[in-house]
């Protein structure tokens, strides 16, 4: 077996081992289903409730992606503004950091009052949770342009706009894509939190309902569905990242023979 194949297989083997151990522990210690359903019970629940899980998963995915899309747009705009302008950096950065320190769950009840129990609360929560890493990363990429490179371009009569498009933006792309991988998982967190607090659809809502009726297998089923969606989206952005900014991760590519 080659090292590359082994590296690719090993996480799946560990996952399989965890599932087996999970099943074994529940069996051996006779843990009641209401406390911890076995792996088989949980996957059975996915099959049993496949209809509602499917529609609610789509709802969660939709709100997450809309919130994430807003976060990308707002995050990029703010990140560029903060990254290229010292006055804007001085004025906004401390506020952004302060805002990011607020536990966003505390905002959800307020958002519910403003937007009501509908898809807007999860969308806004997903946005609010996920835009910050995008701002910080884009701003960092732009603010760390080598001064010599700036001089080379300015000595050619380049405008700030030229420097931004020729150097700043391409240079901050790896930072941007790295932040998308963080932001997409945070967007899922935001959407599910909002659905749990105040939703009438979505996986978070399903889990809340399951919890109130002690349907623990369904809660685990919801958990698995949300995990698969989040990992899937993460993978999409990880692949995009590699495609667009291979130059920034070339040493890693070489190391894995990819």
């Amino acid at each position: 077996m080659t090292a590359g194949l082994r590296d690719r297989l090993s996480p799946w083997l560990v996952l399989a081992a965890i599932l087996v151990a999970w099943e074994a522990i529940v069996d051996v210690f006779h843990i009641p289903r209401e406390v911890l359903p076995s792996a088989v019970d949980s996957f059975a629940a996915i099959w049993q409730f496949r209809g509602p899980l499917w529609t609610n998963a789509l709802s969660t995915l939709t709100t997450t992606m809309i919130g994430f899309a807003i976060a990308v747009a707002v995050g990029m705009a703010l990140g560029i503004a903060v990254g290229i302008s010292r006055p804007i950096y001085a004025a906004l950065y401390p506020l952004l950091v302060g805002f990011n320190a607020i536990p966003k769950v505390a905002l959800v009840p307020i958002l519910v009052i403003w937007f009501g129990v509908n898809i807007w609360s999860p969308i806004i929560t997903a946005f609010v949770l996920s835009f910050f890493p995008i701002v910080v990363n884009v701003a960092t990429g732009l603010a760390t342009i080598e001064p010599e490179l700036r001089d080379v371009l300015r000595a050619l009569g380049a405008h700030e706009r030229d420097i931004l498009f020729k150097v700043g933006i391409p240079r901050s792309l790896p930072f941007f894509f790295a932040s998308l991988k963080i932001a997409i998982t945070l967007a899922f967190v935001g959407a599910v939190i909002a659905e749990t607090v105040a939703g009438n659809e979505g996986i978070g809502h399903v889990m809340l309902v399951a919890s109130s009726s002690f349907n623990t297998p369904l809660m685990f089923a919801g958990l698995i569905v949300i995990a698969v969606m989040a990992i899937g989206m993460y993978a999409v952005f990880a692949v995009t990242d590699r495609r667009f900014t291979g130059w920034a991760t070339r040493s890693m590519d070489y190391a894995t023979g990819g």
């Binding site: 080598e146 080379v152 000595a155 050619l156 380049a158 020729k166 150097v167 130059w247 920034a248 070339r250």
Partner: protein, 268 residues
């Protein structure tokens, strides 16, 4: 008669960041004056931190003097010039572009190439490859910077600095980070390029042999705040070979420059 570059009693004060009050900046250059003729190759040497690089930035118009005047081609420099090519110790090539695209970067900014660039891309590619061939980088156009050695990156950087045929080439210790053999190879490359183009060159270096070997005139700067304390003409005909650097008059010249710098350092 006016010279191509005229620096007249220039002071430069670097203002500190917000914490510094009024008048507490660092005086980097004080009362510096020098003249460079069109097509001349001059070198500026001096102790480290003496404001050599600052002088280049003043000439390029990247910073404005605190006092005195800088004139290039008869015009007072008040904003970045557009006729300049620059190269630094750090090659600063863009890692997402291959060598050819890096070399062509200035043409995407400078007119008239800027507006022609998209239409005549193939012609520009050819020109870039020809230029790369003259510095010994034939066949490396499609490589990315991280696939080039340090010396090759500097060759590519020289191409980038010259591709738009600037009237003025400003070099800030471009060979400072290279090993001795590579450096001497690049002296030859630079001399050849200079003899082909005869643009005006200002080279900042801390390598006195390099200054003596390449320049028509060498200026010695004092320790900070930098002034021009000595000026020396090197009248050895071009092309100069590496063997010329060991000729007695060249060795004596390097010694003389060395003396001035030691005294400047001691005075500081």
């Amino acid at each position: 008669m006016t010279s191509f570059i005229e620096i007249d009693s220039v002071d430069l004060v670097y203002q500190g960041r917000a914490e510094a009050g009024a008048g507490t900046g660092t005086l980097a250059v004080q009362g510096a004056s020098l003249r460079v003729e069109q097509g001349e190759f001059v070198a500026i040497v001096g102790p480290s931190g003496c404001g050599k690089s600052t002088l280049l930035k003043l000439v390029a118009g990247l910073i404005a003097p605190s006092a005195g005047t800088v004139r290039v081609a008869g015009e007072r420099v008040t904003r970045p010039l557009k006729i300049v090519g620059m190269a630094f110790q750090n090659a600063t090539l863009l890692p997402w572009r291959n060598t050819r695209e890096n070399v062509l970067l200035p043409l995407e900014i400078v007119e008239p190439h800027r507006s022609r660039f998209r239409r005549e891309k193939k012609a520009y590619w050819k020109a870039a490859d020809a230029l790369l061939a003259t510095v010994g980088l034939a066949g490396f156009a499609e490589r990315h910077p991280w696939q080039l050695s340090g010396g090759m990156q500097q060759r590519a950087q020289l191409c980038r600095a010259l591709v738009h045929e600037p009237a003025l080439l400003l070099l800030d210790e471009p060979f400072g980070a290279l090993d001795a053999f590579t450096r001497e190879e690049l002296w030859e490359v630079l001399q050849t390029l200079y003899m082909q183009r005869r643009c005006t060159v200002m080279l900042v270096t801390h390598d006195l042999r390099e200054a003596a070997h390449l320049a028509d005139r060498v200026f010695v700067m004092s320790a900070r705040p930098g002034r021009i304390i000595h000026e020396r003409t090197v009248d050895i005909p071009r092309p100069r070979s590496l063997d010329d650097t060991f000729r007695p008059e060249m060795v004596a010249l390097v010694h003389e420059l060395r003396d001035h710098i030691s005294r400047a350092r001691a005075a500081a």
